[in-house]
């Protein structure tokens, strides 16, 4: 059986790039903002953004991904796929130890994926449906047996999706109540020191890190500063070195980036490729009419929103798939800002002025403002709009209960339409109670079929073709009104070098970063 070798055996240090003119300097402290305060650092149970940000530097996955979403070795040094695409074999790095000194072996990998994460990680659980068995022939080899070739499989192994967790700590315990959740033990470049709730999380250099010479910095502080303006001030006054994407209000971004010593990058979000759209309730009211939904698309001045609200970061979304995600089709038709066309469509459908509720997304200023802008856009083409305000819990519940007309959301795409796109449009994904499925109630059997086939098609060329068909159909139907592919610029003090070098950005950034004195 011919095997496709996917990893380089010798590569120990991911991304050892020769692009740097200088040699990294050792030592120093980096202060980072963490907003909101994570509920826990236990990355295997909480997939909250900030849990991943902090936890990603304590725990590790089997691989890291570069900005083109190509896998690179980390805890796995090499991997092979069988010809039929159904068997994956991973070779683990030897000599890796947990923060408590116990060795990391294949038993940990099998336990983490097959037991713990299968139980606790909903997103992974969906993908693991394609995995029949996970076995460990020896201490440093793990074999995954799939029931079908699953295209996105190779993109499952970053730290946020599939973190490696210590079996010797968790096996046989109630995972959620394990005391180690408060004192996380991983294999990553930093060890957990202290968490002063409401104030800061302190991580320190892992002296026994398995990649020699890393990490460069000694201390890592994550600061909880709940007020956005205070976060900005903290950065300005030099108290904070890194503002991860989304941690300051967009309005502040231009000013902060213009400061001396402020560097900015939009890299590090390729894996997530956050995609924002308006939920349009396909079941009831004016939004159940395709022409109305198209009118919404034409009525929105997305360029204005992009420039005023997002400081020109990001990209107008053309359709369901983000441009950085695999299988994006660039040939899709464009819904330009065209109020006249919108009015014409409304007239054609005989829109009677029934007011629609526009539910704001309670995720901060920008979204609030965006809601106000959209309301103005809609009203200007004659759509009566009423803003409904709620908090996170209310918003989740209302979307989950389909109790809305129009609302905002943005979701991650995880690099592959099968992981992060199809979930929004598949009709078998309509179920009350969750705001992350097909909450708009879009039903198109043809699209269902294309998506389902594409997920398991082999090789990629075949997948691309199917996804392209699906995208065209969806753009025609406008089940949701796509807004933008968001970009969250990471702002950091220029003394911090080599900060973002993977597709998940600050989530696993600090192992390789260093401070220029």
């Amino acid at each position: 059986m011919k095997k496709i070798i996917m990893g380089a055996v010798i590569a120990c240090l991911p991304f050892t790039s020769s692009a740097y003119a200088e040699d990294p300097q050792e030592g120093g402290t980096i202060n980072v903002v963490v907003q909101p305060e994570p509920p826990s650092l236990m990355i295997g149970m909480y997939s909250n953004a900030t849990t991943q940000q902090v936890g990603g530097n304590i725990f590790e996955g089997l691989m890291r991904y570069d900005k083109d979403l190509n896998p690179h070795p980390l805890l796995a040094t090499a991997w092979e796929n069988s010809e039929d695409g159904k068997t994956w074999t991973f070779h683990l790095k030897e000599g890796v130890v947990w923060h408590d000194g116990k060795p990391f072996t294949s038993a940990d990998v099998v336990f983490s994926i097959d037991k713990l994460l299968r139980e606790t990680n909903a997103r992974l659980r969906g993908s693991l449906a394609f995995v029949d068995s996970i076995t460990a022939p020896d201490d440093y080899t793990v074999v995954f047996q799939l029931n079908q070739p699953f295209g996105p499989f190779i993109r499952l192994f970053e730290v946020g999706t599939t973190p490696m967790l210590p079996k010797h700590i968790y096996a046989g315990t109630d995972y959620k109540l394990n005391p180690a959740n408060h004192h996380p033990i991983g294999t990553g470049p930093f060890v957990f020191k202290e968490w002063k709730k409401g104030s800061f999380i302190h991580l320190a250099k892992n002296e026994n890190y398995h990649v020699k010479g890393l990490p460069h910095i000694d201390e890592l502080y994550w600061h909880v500063i709940p007020d956005a303006a205070s976060r900005s001030v903290a950065f300005e006054t030099g108290k904070i070195d890194v503002l991860p994407g989304g941690s300051v209000e967009n309005f502040d971004v231009p000013r902060l980036t213009e400061l001396d010593n402020a560097c900015v990058t939009t890299d590090g979000w390729e894996f997530f490729s956050p995609h924002a759209w308006l939920w349009l309730n396909n079941r009831q009211g004016p939004t159940s009419d395709k022409r109305f939904r198209q009118a919404v698309m034409y009525s929105m001045d997305r360029e204005f929103a992009k420039s005023v609200l997002w400081n020109d970061y990001g990209k107008i979304a053309k359709g369901p798939v983000g441009s950085k995600t695999k299988f994006y089709d660039d040939s899709l038709p464009n819904y330009e800002y065209n109020p006249e066309k919108a009015k014409a469509l409304l007239a054609e459908m005989g829109y009677d002025g029934t007011p629609v509720r526009l539910m704001a997304m309670p995720y901060g200023e920008t979204w609030q403002r965006w809601t106000e802008v959209i309301k103005q856009n809609l009203e200007e083409v004659g759509i009566k709009t009423q803003i409904v305000s709620t908090d996170v819990a209310g918003w989740n519940q209302k979307i989950g209960d389909w109790d809305y007309d129009i609302s905002f959301t943005y979701l991650y795409q995880y690099g592959d339409p099968a992981l992060g796109v199809s979930r929004t449009y598949l009709s078998n994904n309509i179920a009350k109670g969750s705001p992350w499925n097909n909450a708009e109630g879009y039903v198109n059997k043809q699209v269902d079929q294309w998506f389902n086939e594409a997920a398991v098609a082999f090789p990629d060329a075949k997948r691309a073709e199917l996804y392209s068909k699906a995208q065209h159909q969806i753009v025609e139907d406008v089940p949701v009104a796509w807004l933008m592919e968001l970009e969250f610029p990471t702002i950091y003090n220029c003394k911090v070098q080599n900060l973002v070098d993977s597709a998940i950005g600050v989530n696993d950034a600090f192992g390789t970063a260093w401070i220029k004195q």
Binding site: S232, E249, D252, V308, Q368, T371, E372, T390
Partner: protein, 279 residues
């Protein structure tokens, strides 16, 4: 009546009244006289004040007219202040009246009930109420009313406690008047002075409360309010301090004018300061 006379002679109170009157006029007629929606994006964002004669106070983060926002904000501030105070009075007066008039276990029960509302930190309760019933002008008004009635009840109770043994009340009892009549026609009219004073101060603190709630993002999203303007501008305070400054001044002036008026009313109505019992 000499209350009005002594009020009109009080310069400070008249300044307060004048400013308040101006705001009331703006709130009532401003939207008709000043052409411009507070939500429409009319100019480039962050236009500073006094640079464009069409938009004297400049524009906000989205390029909306700040002056229009102020005018519409006056409306909601005063409306919420007045309505919530009215509701608080409607809860507090009967409660306090019954407790004070009947005394005994009625008093005990009603005052324990009041104590519950006084023990919970009021602003925190208001925040929770608005968040739970979702921000709208109704929930905000209701929440403010709910947290601000206990002082009314206590005041009215105190007044009733002291007035119920006044001789003219006893005389009414001897006349065979019903309790309802005694409460409504004998005692209540005579306890109105301190209630009016308190009410004027309550409108002021309701305006402050509304702005605080809006500032925290718990405002009615359909309505432009001063607190909302400050809250929306807080993130850009560094680039455009005037966006938070201007509505803050508007709030302060309104509240100040109400306080001045309240002080004046107090001096005009309070027997302690103006000599004899009000006659």
């Amino acid at each position: 009546m000499n209350v009005i006379k002594s009020l009109t002679q009080n310069k400070v109170a008249m300044v307060g009244f004048g400013i308040l009157f101006m705001f009331v006029v703006i709130a009532l007629f401003g939207p008709y006289l000043y052409d411009g929606s507070p939500w429409r994006m009319v100019q480039r964002p962050f236009l500073p004040p006094f640079q464009n004669s069409n938009y004297i106070l400049g524009t906000d983060t989205l390029g909306r007219d700040v002056l229009a926002g102020l005018i519409y904000g006056a409306r909601i501030s005063l409306l919420v202040g007045l309505v919530s105070t009215t509701i608080a009075l409607l809860i507090g007066i009967p409660l306090g009246a019954y407790a004070g008039y009947y005394g005994g276990w009625v008093d005990e029960v009603l005052m324990r009930f009041t104590e519950i509302f006084q023990t919970v930190p009021s602003f925190a309760l208001a925040v929770v109420l608005v968040a739970i019933f979702e921000p709208s002008v109704y929930s905000i008004t209701g929440a403010i009313a709910i947290v601000s009635w206990p002082p009314v009840a206590r005041l009215v109770r105190g007044e009733f406690l002291s007035l119920r043994s006044q001789e003219y009340v006893l005389a009414a009892k001897l006349n065979g008047q019903t309790n309802r009549n005694i409460i409504m026609r004998e005692i209540l009219p005579n306890s109105l002075s301190p209630i009016i004073v308190l009410a004027s101060l309550m409108v002021a603190s309701a305006i402050l409360l509304e702005s605080s709630l809006s500032f925290l993002g718990l405002g009615d999203p359909e309505i432009m309010s001063w607190g909302y303007m400050i809250g929306a501008a807080k993130t850009v305070i560094r680039q455009a301090w005037w966006l938070s400054f201007i509505p803050g001044i508007a709030i302060a002036i309104t509240v100040l004018s109400l306080n001045l008026l309240g002080e004046g009313l107090n001096e005009a109505l309070n027997p302690k300061l103006s000599g004899k019992r009000e006659s």
